[in-house]
Amino acid sequence: MWTFGRKIAAGFTLAFLLLLGIGGIAYRSLDLLANTSHTVTHTHEVLERIANLLSFLKDAETGQRGYVISGEDSYLEPYKSGVENLPKVIKELRELTADNQNQQKRLDQVEQLAAAKLAELKRTVELRRKTSFEETVKVIRTGEGKKYMDDMRSVLGQMEREERELLKQRAEEVETASSGAKTTIIFGTVLCLLVVTAAGFLITRSLSGQIGSAVRHVQSSSAELQSAANQQASGAKESATAMTEITTTISELLATSRQIAESAQRVAHVAEETSSAARTGDTTVQRSHDSVNSVKRQVDLIVTHMLDLGKKSQQIGGILEIINELSEQTNILAINATIEASGAGDAGKRFAVVADEIRKLADRVGGSTKEIRVLIEEIRAAVNTTVMATEGGSKAVDLGARQFVEVTAALKQITELLGTTTAAAREIELSTKQQATAVEQVNIAVSNVAKAAKETEVSSSQTLQTAGQLAGLSRELIRLIQATASA
């Protein structure tokens, strides 16, 4: 199937070929006319030179006659002008008729006749100058001069007739070429009109169908484009809103990144101070460890002394048991002595008193022994409690000493970790600054995107407007095509 361009090109090519043919023929006719006109002009120039030649001869003869008659030199001006210009005219005629042998031959005769005439005029002028009028008239009356002029007129007449013949012939040629060109142009133009009309009709009929179908497609496409542009405008508006929100969020993110960078910087600073404090704490812990070891030695000594005290109090308890037993036995003996004294009657009264005092003393000793036992038991309990507490303290001190070692190791680890923390915080600070820079770039990019989204929104509106215009144009085009088809 031929495309629009091919069809239109074929139609225009046919019209162009016809116009080219007509133009060629017209050009050829015009060229022929121009050449003919040029030759005609040339012929007119030749005729003008022939007339000039005859005129110059007449001027020379007129001057010769005036001088002869008047004998004044002022009448010789035409003569001199004719003598001076005649050779130039003959030379121009010879050049103008160089392609015409007949005219060249006649020019030879003209040149001879002109030379003879000028010689005759010169003789008569010289004669008039030397002699009188009458002498000069006698010479003129010989008719030599007239004969030269008649021959000259005869030859120039032949030349003029030939040139007139040539002019007539060329006029006929011009007429023939002109009529042929007119005929060619008229028929060619008519033929071209017919061809262009037929091609236009065929192309119009062909294109109206295809263009109509295409325009309908364009119309449906423009409707779809309108719908798509609507969606695009809506999407672009949503994108612009989202980009605005993203820009706000990124701004907040940027502020947060800056806060993080500042916090990381503060963390690094605090970590450095903490590392210094940890080193100081390490020294303090070392001193405390020495102090704890000293305390441990003192506590061990206290434990030893308390154990000795416990043993001593146990020994005191044993002695107290003996004392208690002795007081009990003394009490029993005193009671028995009292019984015996009561059995002895009056003689035993004083003994009974002594026995009673001994019994009372034994009672008091027993009571005191019980109190002292309670006290000793309290001392032993206190010693045991103290020993247990001291042993617990010793264990706590041991544990504390071990924990001090662990604390020292932990402080060293803390120092190392603080170094790592400082480095990490600095890395975080650096990374966060880079992140902030990146976020700034992203912010700029997002701002550009937001701007682009707004431009897209505007562009979508324009697209929507253009789609509407396109739909209108499609309807208009369909209307035009249908109108053309119906017409």
Binding site: I332, I335, S342, D356, S368, I372
Partner: protein
């Protein structure tokens, strides 16, 4: 005040009381009639024994058990060069045999001596006669108890040793066991 100083003060007080007792005259002129008692505890109940009714007190004596139809008889022991029967005071008073160690013995009588064993001896009491009451007055109705004494803010039942002697003799006669020497 520390414990050591307390003990030192207690020893000084004992010394002072003893010296003072020896320094005052033996008689103040006005004598108050008193009764010497031994404060004992039987099955956690407070009792008392008249010193005038016993002939001695001893402790931690080895008691050799003997087979006997009298359940209150714990065995025999050696006191003051003689072998005497030992009876459980708690069993005689109706409490049954005491479970704890019975380390105190009181010797009763001189012609036909016997010993009473009990677990708790609380001390020697010198009670005015005015503080002695009949058992009915203090509503102390127990066997072998005729009187009660109030001492150290406590009422104690007075065990009658003669009544116990008669009861032991009666039981020995009814059980067919010859009297112990």
């Amino acid at each position: 005040m520390t414990t050591i100083s307390l003990i030192s003060a207690k020893a000084a007080e004992l010394r002072r009381v003893f010296d003072q007792a020896r320094a005052v005259p033996s008689s103040t002129g006005v004598e108050v009639q008193t009764e010497s008692l031994l404060a004992i505890r039987v099955a956690r109940d407070p009792y008392a024994i008249r010193v005038s009714e016993i002939s001695g007190i001893s402790t931690d004596k080895k008691v050799v058990a003997l087979p006997s139809p009298v359940p209150e008889l714990l065995g025999v022991t050696g006191l003051r060069g003689a072998i005497v029967p030992v009876y459980s005071l708690a069993a005689l008073l109706g409490y049954g045999q005491e479970t704890g160690q019975v380390r105190w013995l009181v010797l009763c009588g001189t012609d036909e001596p016997f010993a009473l064993a009990f677990s708790g001896f609380e001390g020697y009491l010198c009670v005015p006669q005015a503080e002695l009451y009949s058992a009915e007055q203090k509503d102390v109705r127990r066997t072998f108890v005729t009187h009660a004494a109030r001492a150290t803010k406590m009422v104690r039942a007075l065990v009658s040793i003669p009544m116990l002697r008669e009861a032991i003799q009666e039981r020995c006669r009814t059980s067919g066991v010859p009297k112990e020497q």
